[in-house]
Symmetry: C2
DNA sequence: CGCACTATTGAGTGCTGTCAAGAACTGTGG
DNA sequence: CCACAGTTCTTGACAGCACTCAATAGTGCG
C-alpha cells in the first residue's frame, strides 16, 4: 500500500541522509520509517523542551537551531542544523527533550522513531545512520575545541570553514555560505557577545577575507581564513 | 561454547552499560558482542588518531581521556570518560579515528563493533545503546554550553557538578569526586589555562565550597557550588 | 514616511592569558 | 629513611582581549 510518509525516492536530500547507498526498493522501505513534518516557517517549533522524546530528527530542507534556556532565563543556542544533519539526540537519554528546536528558514525535517531502528537496519540503512551519528559527534567535538580557543576571531573563522565543509557535503558552493540565523543566535552559539561577533565580522571584511550581508557570507580568501582559524596565541 | 570475551555476567559495570535491564541469558549473549581490552595502565592507548574505526568503546572500569592534536602540535582534550560511558563515536563518520584515547587510570574498555549492532538489537540491548548515545550527546551539549560561559569559575563549578551527577549514576558518593586527570588536561578540557584553573580551585577552597587534593575533590557546599555554576554576569 | 528592530561602532572596566618564580609532590637511588 | 632531581602545581605581576554600557547607523515593515 502506498505510504504518504517519507517519500525518500523524491527527496532532494536522500543522498546525504539515510538513503545514501540504497536502491529504489530500499528508498521505498526507508520512506516508511521516516515521518516528515509539514513545511515549517521561520520560528515554528520542531519540538520543545519537555516534549517526550522517542526518536530523533534529520533535516530534509531549510535550517534548524536548537537551544536551551538556563536558570537565568537566558537562551543558549546549542546547534545549527543543515540538510542531512541529525538533531534531537540529547533527549534520548531520559525520554524527554531538554532543548527546543525551531526552524530558522522554511524547511522540513523527518522524524525517525527509535522503534524504527531495527527496520532501518534490515533495509540496509544502518551504516548510514552510524555515519550520521559519527558526523554529528565529530562536529560537536570540533565545535567544542573551537570554543576552547579563547580568540573570537579563531572561533568565527572556524565556524565559517566548518560551514564551508558542510556546503561541500551538500554539493553547494563552499565559498557562498548561507547564514540565515540572527547575529544574536550566532554569537550565542559561538560563545561571545553580539558586539564581539560584529567586530570580528567587520575585521574580516576590512582585511578582505570575506564579504558579509545579513544572511550570507562570501569567502574571498579561504587560505587566509584558514590561517586565522588555526592561529594560536601569538 | 564458552566465550572468553565480554563476560558481562560478572562485569561490575553491567548495570550502567548495555546490560541494563537484561537477564542472565541476555547478558551471556551480550558478552559475545563486547570485546574487553586487557587491563590498561595509565598512559596506554585505547586507540590512536588515524586508526581504522569500525566500532565504539564503552568504559568498563577506570577513566579514559580523548584528545586531538591541532596543526600547531598542541593537545586538546576532548573528553573524559568514566565507567559506562561511550567513546570513539567521532571516528565512525569517516572510518578512522580523528582523536586518540588513552587510559588515565588503570582500567578496561569494551569494544562494540558496528557489525554487532543488529545482534545487539535482537538480544534486547538496543534501547540501552540509544540511552547511552543520548547521554553522551547530552553531556557534550552541557559541556558546550559550559564552554560558552566565559567565566572560569562557572565552568569549573559546572564540571564538578556534572561529575557529581556521574558519580550518582555510578552509585558512588556524589560529594567525593575522583579527579585522576592532570591539571593540565583538565584545564585543556575546560578551555582555560593551567594557571586559571589553579586559581579557581584555590578560590573555591578558600571560600569553603570544596577541598581539593591532586587527585580528588570533595564538595563541601553543593548548593553554593550550584550558585556559582549558574551565576550569570553580575 | 516613520517606527521597531537589528547591527555596528566607540570608550572604559575586568577577567583571563602570559611570563616568571617559588612551592609541593613523586619517584629514584643511596 | 633521607637526599635529590624532575615534574606538577600554586601564586604573583602585568598586559591584552572580550564584556559591559552607551550611542549611532542600518534594515525591514506597516
Amino acid at each position: 500500500m502506498p505510504n504518504p510518509n517519507g517519500q525518500c525516492l523524491t527527496c532532494p536530500t536522500r543522498l546525504l541522509c539515510l538513503g545514501a547507498g540504497l536502491e529504489a526498493d530500499g528508498l521505498r522501505e526507508l520512506g516508511e520509517c521516516m515521518h516528515p513534518t509539514a513545511p515549517q516557517h521561520k520560528g515554528e517549533y520542531l519540538y520543545r523542551s519537555g516534549d517526550p522524546a522517542n526518536g530523533c530528527y534529520i533535516v530534509r530542507s531549510g535550517v534548524y537551531k536548537t537551544f536551551a534556556i538556563n536558570a537565568g532565563g537566558e537562551e543558549y543556542v546549542t546547534g545549527f542544523f543543515y540538510p542531512g544533519e541529525v538533531l534531537g539526540l540529547p533527549g534520548l537519554a531520559r525520554g524527554s527533550h531538554e532543548e527546543s528546536a525551531i526552524a530558522i528558514d522554511t524547511g522540513t525535517a523527518c522524524r525517525l522513531k527509535t522503534e524504527m531502528l531495527p527496520a532501518l537496519w534490515s533495509l540496509g540503512g544502518g551504516a548510514s545512520l552510524i555515519r550520521l551519528l559519527g558526523e554529528h559527534d565529530r562536529q560537536a567535538t570540533i565545535a567544542r575545541i573551537s570554543l576552547s580557543q579563547s580568540r573570537a576571531d579563531c572561533r568565527v573563522a572556524r565556524f565559517l570553514l566548518e560551514l564551508s565543509d558542510r556546503m561541500v557535503t551538500q554539493g553547494r558552493d563552499p565559498l557562498v555560505l548561507p547564514v540565515p540565523m540572527s547575529r544574536t543566535d550566532l554569537a550565542s552559539y559561538l560563545g561571545m557577545t553580539l558586539e564581539s561577533l560584529s567586530r570580528v565580522v567587520s575585521r574580516l571584511t576590512r582585511t578582505g577575507l570575506i564579504t558579509a550581508t545579513r544572511s550570507q557570507v562570501t569567502v574571498l580568501a579561504p587560505e587566509q581564513l584558514r590561517t586565522v582559524a588555526h592561529q594560536l596565541a601569538d
